[in-house]
Symmetry: D2
Amino acid sequence: MNQTDVKKAEGKLGILVVGLGAVSSTFITGVLMARKGLAKPVGSMTQYDIMRVGEGADKKYLHYNQIVPIADLNDIEFGSWDVYPANAFESAMNAEVLKEKDILPVKDELEKIVPMKAAFDHNYAKRLDGDNIMQGKTRWEMVEVLREDIRNFKKEHGCNRVVVLWAASTEVYVAPDKNVHYTLADLEKAMKADDKEHVAPSMCYAYAALTEGAPFVMGAPNTTVDIPAMWELAEKTKMPIAGKDFKTGQTLVKSGFAPIIGVRCLGLAGWFSTNILGNRDGLVLDEPANFRTKEVSKLSTLESILVPENQPDLYTDYYHKVRINYYPPRNDNKEGWDNIDIFGWMGYPMQIKINFLCRDSILAAPLCLDLCLLIDLAARNGRYGTQRFLSFFLKSPMHDYTVDEVPVNNLFQQYTMLKNAIREMGGYKADELID
Amino acid sequence: MNQTDVKKAEGKLGILVVGLGAVSSTFITGVLMARKGLAKPVGSMTQYDIMRVGEGADKKYLHYNQIVPIADLNDIEFGSWDVYPANAFESAMNAEVLKEKDILPVKDELEKIVPMKAAFDHNYAKRLDGDNIMQGKTRWEMVEVLREDIRNFKKEHGCNRVVVLWAASTEVYVAPDKNVHYTLADLEKAMKADDKEHVAPSMCYAYAALTEGAPFVMGAPNTTVDIPAMWELAEKTKMPIAGKDFKTGQTLVKSGFAPIIGVRCLGLAGWFSTNILGNRDGLVLDEPANFRTKEVSKLSTLESILVPENQPDLYTDYYHKVRINYYPPRNDNKEGWDNIDIFGWMGYPMQIKINFLCRDSILAAPLCLDLCLLIDLAARNGRYGTQRFLSFFLKSPMHDYTVDEVPVNNLFQQYTMLKNAIREMGGYKADELID
Amino acid sequence: MNQTDVKKAEGKLGILVVGLGAVSSTFITGVLMARKGLAKPVGSMTQYDIMRVGEGADKKYLHYNQIVPIADLNDIEFGSWDVYPANAFESAMNAEVLKEKDILPVKDELEKIVPMKAAFDHNYAKRLDGDNIMQGKTRWEMVEVLREDIRNFKKEHGCNRVVVLWAASTEVYVAPDKNVHYTLADLEKAMKADDKEHVAPSMCYAYAALTEGAPFVMGAPNTTVDIPAMWELAEKTKMPIAGKDFKTGQTLVKSGFAPIIGVRCLGLAGWFSTNILGNRDGLVLDEPANFRTKEVSKLSTLESILVPENQPDLYTDYYHKVRINYYPPRNDNKEGWDNIDIFGWMGYPMQIKINFLCRDSILAAPLCLDLCLLIDLAARNGRYGTQRFLSFFLKSPMHDYTVDEVPVNNLFQQYTMLKNAIREMGGYKADELID
Amino acid sequence: MNQTDVKKAEGKLGILVVGLGAVSSTFITGVLMARKGLAKPVGSMTQYDIMRVGEGADKKYLHYNQIVPIADLNDIEFGSWDVYPANAFESAMNAEVLKEKDILPVKDELEKIVPMKAAFDHNYAKRLDGDNIMQGKTRWEMVEVLREDIRNFKKEHGCNRVVVLWAASTEVYVAPDKNVHYTLADLEKAMKADDKEHVAPSMCYAYAALTEGAPFVMGAPNTTVDIPAMWELAEKTKMPIAGKDFKTGQTLVKSGFAPIIGVRCLGLAGWFSTNILGNRDGLVLDEPANFRTKEVSKLSTLESILVPENQPDLYTDYYHKVRINYYPPRNDNKEGWDNIDIFGWMGYPMQIKINFLCRDSILAAPLCLDLCLLIDLAARNGRYGTQRFLSFFLKSPMHDYTVDEVPVNNLFQQYTMLKNAIREMGGYKADELID
């Protein structure tokens, strides 16, 4: 084994979350509770998963942190920005995701997490109306204030390293524009010209993070770091980036269930997915404009798993439809209903229906933790640019669309990619991708 | 590549099915229709699957028959035994699984498949009352008649090789008895003593097949070849065996869905599975005695996928319950309903419900084809005894319980096992098992 | 008992259906098959229902035709208009609703039902492209040709009476316009001026029917006869009308299930209804414009059953959402999924989910029969204008919205209304409406 | 209007509940909270329902207590017996049905409700092992102690009237025996002879209640008061009785949904109902012996709603199956899954699936309240014997099986029966039963 390439996880790791809503407050509360032994961080790969390294007689089964140096939960310091001024305790209580008894034991710590003023543009999220906002700033000024925020946070909390995680709303769709988003120079020019149409606020966060030497994770479907200009910046700053869109509910199931159909060579005639959700995420997505990217990203999942070109008898012309519906009675407890029309022997049809009563924040929180810990690990390993091994956690994995790269959506292939990266960083041989 | 160890698939392959009911007639009709280009054998791995061989630069994606010599559909000859005298055409029509238009084009061929008299004991399947039965035979006489049937069939149809496939009902449970089922000598003694209590009719079929040099596949949950005495016989005759219980509906989904939960480190609190089915299989299983083995076998699926010892926080004491209900209005269109209680971050509960409207025979038919073709391949490769690489197709894979061997139930691990065997027989290197 | 007010059902009854698609061909085939004793008209109230008449000691339970003179199935003559030239046999085969064996025995009769050229305007149903169309006609000319069609049909088939039933597509929404649709004079003026924007083709059918002394039934959600001008025409011609939108699947269940919640004084927080359907109806509704009315009409169902004003603690501000999705893999087999969020004691939430795998035409066909037979009965009873007693069969019962009349949507109240009308026509006392 | 026959609800009403488990503690807590205006008694007909009285011009819509004198929530005094010594506060906390915040405001009052020692026989509920039990008593001594308990309670709490409500477990099935249960004399003889086999402990409660002038309600499926001997006692003491089995979840839906099928003359091929539940009720029912009556009672629901004799084409030979499964992960949140196979026009099949995620105690609590208040009302009206008008609240309404009386199970007919009784007691004319 040869771990020399990965720096130790020394000192404190700052995690700065953009958006201190249901997901973030559930994430933070859980980490603080787990540190006290009062809750289990269920769903977190870095805390639970056991994987094989080595082959044949040398085979061993280890936790991730027995293979590579992962930051300890006790070394994490939390900070955030939000358009609403509520602190993490208030936010956790308002979210109504966790029961009081699971929040109160860490009330003091949560109350100290008070959001910094957000870089915000109302046109990118019309349904939000908070006032904890840095006023009258151009895009470039936003970048500068955010950079200062990061530096201050690092100093005040004595952090050795910082990661920035976007856990805020879906912004209005920004289509990658060749004149603005394809080179770093063009992007910087647009920022300095305060081009509000092409520069989403989220881009200011990402730009600030990377230039301050902090990896950046995009948890919403925003195109923020999914543009060549940001890939260039990540390369220039030697920083890792990851995105986009936490793989929480229906898409998680889809990316795991489609392979069942595929490995058995059953045919697919149609897949209808509908969702009801009532939290802030649902409210924002209720606007057709905001829904567009979400839908595109959700649709792509199947195509790369059940591939018509490989099996024309089985996967040609299946009808795939995704619907998201804002439905307030459920709050954070979103629910998916899938109807899958398959066919078997001699083309005879069968149906599968999956009803997933899930909880958005409960599924997203461990993803937040893993993405932060693993992108920090990648940074210490000198990995930069898009981290494809984190696709496992993401609904719409970033890929180089300028050269038609096909992303991996199959959950089990993504899992092998994740383990292979850990293996390599731990000095072990990677497996062949399962296929 | 080195294929020298596998004999070519020359001449005709006889497939003798025990039981000419819905499953068998659907299987046979489909093969005959596919031969004429009138139907697609969807769901069959040997006819559709494409797999990787080689690694790195040598990687190739091939169909199975491009890697190993698999018998051609055109070389198959069908025969059968059944307690009812209906020929394959009548049986296919009675089953009401396939539409008339999918049967009529091969009516002539089907009518020629007339079942031989069955070796039958009413005490092993009380709900069946057919009269196409060899009368007054002891167990040993049954063996001798069946052997003669096999020899005659081979001769009459000019077959080079024969495979025997049990696609008949679930018999009453026969618990492996150390005094009868643990050595071949004891088993033969019991057969000769006409020990009706310990020797199920199905054992006579298996014994006859193996001694006639025919591989044997058990598609029901019967313990027939799942006893040390038969393993000994398989070793002695150098014949491969496989079993037990076609993995068709709910268990197929379970063995694919449980890994989704497992790879994401989500917890499991309970899994409730219920089934309604109305065909002959359901009728037989409506008797508590016949249901027992089925239940045991169905329950074992989860335990080896979500293992409490490995993840005590996640998989200790989950409550797993399986129910099968005879419900005639559905006939062959069985339906499964699963309720899965999982938990995530900080232990918060979520629910998944899966409703599978499947068709027993449509899912079983391609398994019949693949099991016959692949066990014939194994025989030509000189593989004998329990064929673990066929676990992919089976609900309750045979394993050596005398030494506490744990079977593999994870669908994706089973798939790798299947491909690895093909790779090895084709002269390629096997992958590590995914885990 | 006093039946003197209802004329006998003497001679032949012509049923002219607009649209000879899946619904119509299923309806016609079923009636022809039932006449020969080869099929049962299941779902038809006039053929099956048994109701009470009289009270106390005089109570009797009778079929409808034992109470009032309903036309005999043997006296029906079918005709139709359609934009496609396929005859009823071809249409029934194309629809793939019925099995061949349920169509072939009446092939000859079906082939004789050849559609007359349709009055059609492509702007009202953009997805349809048939060419069996009367060309170059103004709206008023359409009326005149249709009137002639009706007279000819009546003469050729020797019909004593004719009913016209719209079983064609949903047209683009025509909002009732006070300047055009509120008086008969204005409507006629618009027709003569060939005002294509305000006069839908369906209005020409209705106008022609009523002026020829034929009752008119609107089976789609079109506003055709749901305007004061048509009410005036119905009054002038003394003809009954009924509409709108056959109550077939999800709304049928909703109008029956909501009363369960209501009679138990359980609260309602939200009701989410989604639909997948793949037939021509689904295709047309896939256009947002065509969906609008459908949605409005579907939404109104709950409001009049669970009334916030009566039970503010229970029914204030529930969230009701209806979605319809075009999903071709299912063809005519549409499917509804409802999620109902209720609350009970102390406000604690519970959920009900209803998944209805229904068949549009199978549910609509008996409604076609009943609506035709009962509106013919009403006509013979001298009832004219909107027939509220037929609300039982309709998703969005017509009501006088100019005076804020509230329609009855509760299935069980509608049933009482239906029976009360039969009672009254049969000379019996009506019940109090259940409430 | 003429209310002279109903005595005023003066003074305090004692409600003595047998069993202080989840249902009872939820019931009591809710009433106490509602009294303080801190919770709404949703689901209670006496507190919410509005019904019509009078006809035609005299029609009025009133709450029940505007028609008849119903006891006020403020006048209720609670007491109980239980085999466990936990007081009502502890029991409510243990049950985990209600949130702490919905219990704490009435903690003091709840703590004062301490259960009296129970009359218990372990053989009737093997899974229970509490020790708050009156020891060494014969059946007749049990009766005497219970009578004294009632008298003491009445005196201590200054109650004007008392009602006894069984909200405890399902006992082992006691089949009505002609030699013991058919006359009061025989029953008393058996009690005195301490015939433990034929006299269930619940019978002692009922006997004690009636002889002390207290109406008795059986909320479990026990045959306690469903025997001629008890009918005789009710007649002799002029006391009303009601039973059996609270209609809470799946049966509630079934008795409301079956009428939807019936009023539309759709056919029924099969109805499969399964249940998972994890509370004490589920535990007890996990024993096949205890399940038997439950099943019988649940099965009877359909037969009296969809009657084969009336509609042989539609309701002959449908297959009805009910399964109850103990499934601890859910605790009180029981869940029902129904699959309903219907058929329509020409016999074509369709399916409906209903998934009810309900809460046993939340649905049962308002039934407890209504049954107690309405049986007290009935007593003040001089009504005695089986109160059929309370069938609305009961899964298996008591009926005189010695003369083949058919019970009413249709929810909407039961509702009319309920309202008719209120009408009559309020001096109004009853409606005809809807049919």
